[in-house]
């Protein structure tokens, strides 16, 4: 029997290029400690631990999660590591939810850390995610891969590079309100347009940074959550989807989910919304913390998530619909475009969405948040997760 689950504690380190003063497990410990303190729990109060970590090649220790066991107080407890590429943080949250919702455990810590700059160039590592026989030699990495889908989206809907640049400007401005953000500042569309060309249509500012840092959340069953936290963030909807790795198969007329539209995300969103009883996302969800490591992700994602019709997100963006306190506030934290510690980015998205619901987002706070959505995406943009956080345990997940 499913039992209600809520976020009751959140811990994040700040995010920046390097943490030379901390080892990997010490970095994870910082986030775990802050989440436990936030939930006013001691390590002994935690029943199980889920570890969030994507490819370990970024930091060079294959079992970095096992190395971290003593540091995140997991010894003698159930412990598992979840890894779905860039979607890892979202999937880890879903795994932690299953621990509690199944009735097997009451309080679960989900924690992770990443340090992408331990390797000279993350994109060399990310070339290794492709098939060694067919695709690695094509110089595919996450930049060139998503540039292809972006070109396709531009051709279908007539979107311009300047419209993507406005997304970057908004994200960097929002990040000024986020003490944990890696990149932040007032920049202009011209600044973005003049930044170094990387892979058309991307310029350097269209691309997220390589971040280091850690994040942790404490999840609890509904009864514990109400005892521990004056305003928990209830998990009211979850959806996830896994598509084929092959991008060409998603770019043909017979495709089940169009490559340019990231259309598989719509399937995950539909499942998530059904659980939460959401029928009109644009009116019912006040905040969307998206996994948007590139400026081009927001438009197809907002459309797949049902906030607007296909091909309309760029125009709405120009009109300010996704600014703070707009139709939906997209990335009040600055989002993934400003901070991307890959193995925990999905967790950070959930953390920032939960803070909005809890009314504790500080300068990032959006008015009157009842529902906030967090997403994560990974692989060849083939894995997606959606998690809805709400101020009350409404919906089918809690029935």
């Amino acid at each position: 029997m499913s039992q209600g689950v809520a976020v009751v504690g959140i811990g994040q380190t700040g995010f920046r290029a390097r943490f030379d003063e901390l080892t990997y497990p010490e970095l994870a410990q910082q986030a775990a400690m802050r989440a436990l303190q936030d939930a006013r729990l001691s390590p002994d109060d935690v029943d199980a631990v889920v570890f969030s970590m994507a490819p370990t090649q970024f930091m060079g220790v294959n079992d970095c999660d096992k190395w971290s066991v003593d540091f995140v107080w997991a010894r003698n407890k159930p412990f598992m590591r979840v890894h779905t590429g860039g979607a890892t943080g979202g999937s880890a949250l879903h795994a932690a939810w299953a621990h509690v919702a199944s009735g097997q455990y009451r309080r679960v810590l989900v924690v992770g850390a990443d340090r992408l700059t331990e390797t000279p160039d993350a994109q060399f590592i990310l070339n290794l995610i492709w098939d060694p026989f067919y695709e690695q030699d094509f110089a595919l990495n996450t930049v060139t891969m998503t540039a292809l889908s972006t070109q396709r989206y531009m051709a279908r809907y007539g979107v311009t590079e300047e419209q993507y640049a406005r997304v970057v400007v908004r994200a960097r401005r929002n990040a000024l309100n986020n003490p944990n953000a890696h990149l932040k500042g007032e920049i202009t569309v011209d600044d973005v347009m003049r930044s170094r060309r990387v892979s058309w249509p991307y310029k350097l500012y269209d691309i997220c940074p390589r971040s280091a840092g850690a994040a942790a959340l404490v999840l609890a069953d509904e009864a514990s959550a109400r005892e521990l936290c004056p305003r928990p963030a209830f998990v009211t909807g979850l959806g996830a989807i896994s598509n084929t790795v092959f991008q060409g198969d998603r770019a043909v007329p017979s495709s089940d989910a169009e490559f340019a539209d990231h259309a598989e995300l719509a399937i995950a969103a539909r499942e998530c919304y059904q659980q939460a009883g959401i029928t009109k996302p644009a009116g019912e969800i006040q905040v969307a913390e998206l996994y948007d490591p590139f400026s081009s992700f927001q438009f197809p994602h907002l459309e797949s998530l049902g906030f607007c019709e296909r091909g309309t997100a760029a125009r709405l963006s120009d009109e300010g619909a996704f600014d703070m306190n707009g139709l939906v506030s997209v990335g009040p934290s600055g989002g993934t475009l400003c901070t991307n510690p890959i193995g925990v980015t999905g967790l950070v998205r959930v953390a920032d969405a939960a803070l909005q619901v809890m009314g504790r987002a500080g300068d990032m706070q959006v008015r009157g948040v009842r529902n906030a959505l967090a997403t994560a995406a990974g692989g060849s943009a083939q894995f997606h997760t959606c998690t809805l956080l709400s101020d009350e345990p409404r919906g089918r997940v809690h029935s």
Partner: protein
């Protein structure tokens, strides 16, 4: 926990599967499990993978392997610890009430992977890696520690190793190798004292998949009778430090065992008909067996355990399959008469840092 096991499959084991890529191994195994369950892929609402990038030889190995595992446009998730941990997560996902029909799958094709290089890179870079830590050395340290802790002598360990090999030869699901003699084990090369080559179960290639069903789905589909009930799972992890207590005491083994029995609603005197152990070496087998001495266990590793097959990352799932077959009365030559309650054990991490148990019960007609 009340989860029905309605189908399972294993890829035929081999020292090296040379005629198939991992994707083909995963596809064949997933397909066979769905066939065994007599369901279509479209009926699945959850897929859980157990896979390790480093052993699979790719970063984010699920990119290529999720779809052939049956997860195309499904809610799919992956754990990297072991196949048994994937079973645990899959079971919790079903028990949450969110999913009704789940596939869990895991594989191992390390015949094409330098396993000890992967294990060496599992060591943290400040102390363990510079001293050359790898799986064999960690197992050697374990063997020395449990030998002292439990008073294991080399001859007794050799005898147990030969006994398991003899049982494995009778297992039609294993490789049916001819057993070694006690003298051959004792004369084999020292790998990491006191561990000898003859104590180490050879790693094999293989894959396992299970189809799990919720009570709600089973009630709505009475024609599908489960072959076993997954009653409980428990797993815990120990310290990363390889000190004498951590290696010798087997605290987490004992804790997880007690917990899975408690979650199964079983008292101290209730019989355990079968327990299938993941023992990578004879010393592990002897130490785990000593730890079970005060439990009413009727049969330990009747399948021959890791000597029948040892697909490293999913050896625990091989044990789960044997346990399911035991309570279903379908284990053939290795059947323990009247088996109604069986435990499967798996472990992972340096020197068995983590232990996982799954408890299966017979489904009465």
């Amino acid at each position: 926990m009340d989860i029905g096991v309605i189908g399972w499959a294993m890829h035929p084991p081999a020292d090296a599967i040379r005629n198939a890529r991992l994707e083909e191994i995963a596809f064949r195994t997933a397909r066979a499990a769905l066939d065994d369950a007599d369901i279509e892929r479209r009926q699945l609402d959850s897929v859980t993978l157990g896979a390790c990038d480093e052993l699979d030889g790719r970063s984010i190995s699920s990119m290529l392997l999720a779809a052939p595992s049956g997860a195309y446009l499904k809610d799919e998730i992956r754990v990297t610890d072991s196949g048994m941990t994937a079973l645990a997560l899959s079971a919790m996902r079903v028990a949450s009430g969110r999913f009704d029909l789940a596939l869990v799958i895991s594989w191992n094709q390390t015949s094409v992977v330098p396993v000890e290089d992967v294990m060496r890179m599992r060591a943290e870079p400040f102390f363990l890696r510079p001293v050359g830590m790898n799986a064999t050395i960690a197992d050697g340290l374990f063997a020395g520690a449990v030998g002292r802790e439990h008073g294991l002598d080399e001859a007794a360990v050799a005898d147990l190793t030969v006994e398991r090999q003899r049982r494995a030869q009778a297992n039609p699901r294993g490789l049916r190798r001819a057993p070694a003699t006690r003298e051959q084990v004792l004369a084999s090369a020292v790998r990491a004292w006191p561990l000898r080559a003859g104590h180490q179960a050879p790693i094999t290639d293989g894959a396992f998949a299970f189809v799990l069903a919720s009570p709600r789905w089973l009630k709505a589909n009475p024609a599908h009778r489960p072959i076993a009930r997954l009653r409980a799972m428990s797993w815990s992890i120990d310290s990363y430090r390889l000190d004498a207590h951590r290696l010798g005491a087997l605290d987490v083994f004992a804790h997880s065992l007690s917990d899975v029995l408690a979650r199964s609603g079983r008292g101290a005197s209730d019989p355990i008909d079968v327990i299938e152990l993941e023992a990578q070496t004879g010393y592990h087998d002897a130490a785990f067996t000593r730890k079970l001495a005060e439990r009413p266990v009727r049969a330990i590793s009747p399948s021959g355990g890791t000597w029948a097959q040892n697909p490293l990352f999913c050896t625990g799932l091989a044990n789960a399959a044997e346990a399911v077959l035991q309570v279903a009365g379908r284990a053939g030559p290795t059947q323990v008469p009247g088996a109604r309650f069986a435990l499967a054990h798996g472990c992972h991490g340096f020197a068995q840092q983590a232990h996982v148990f799954a408890a299966f019960e017979r489904v009465e007609s």
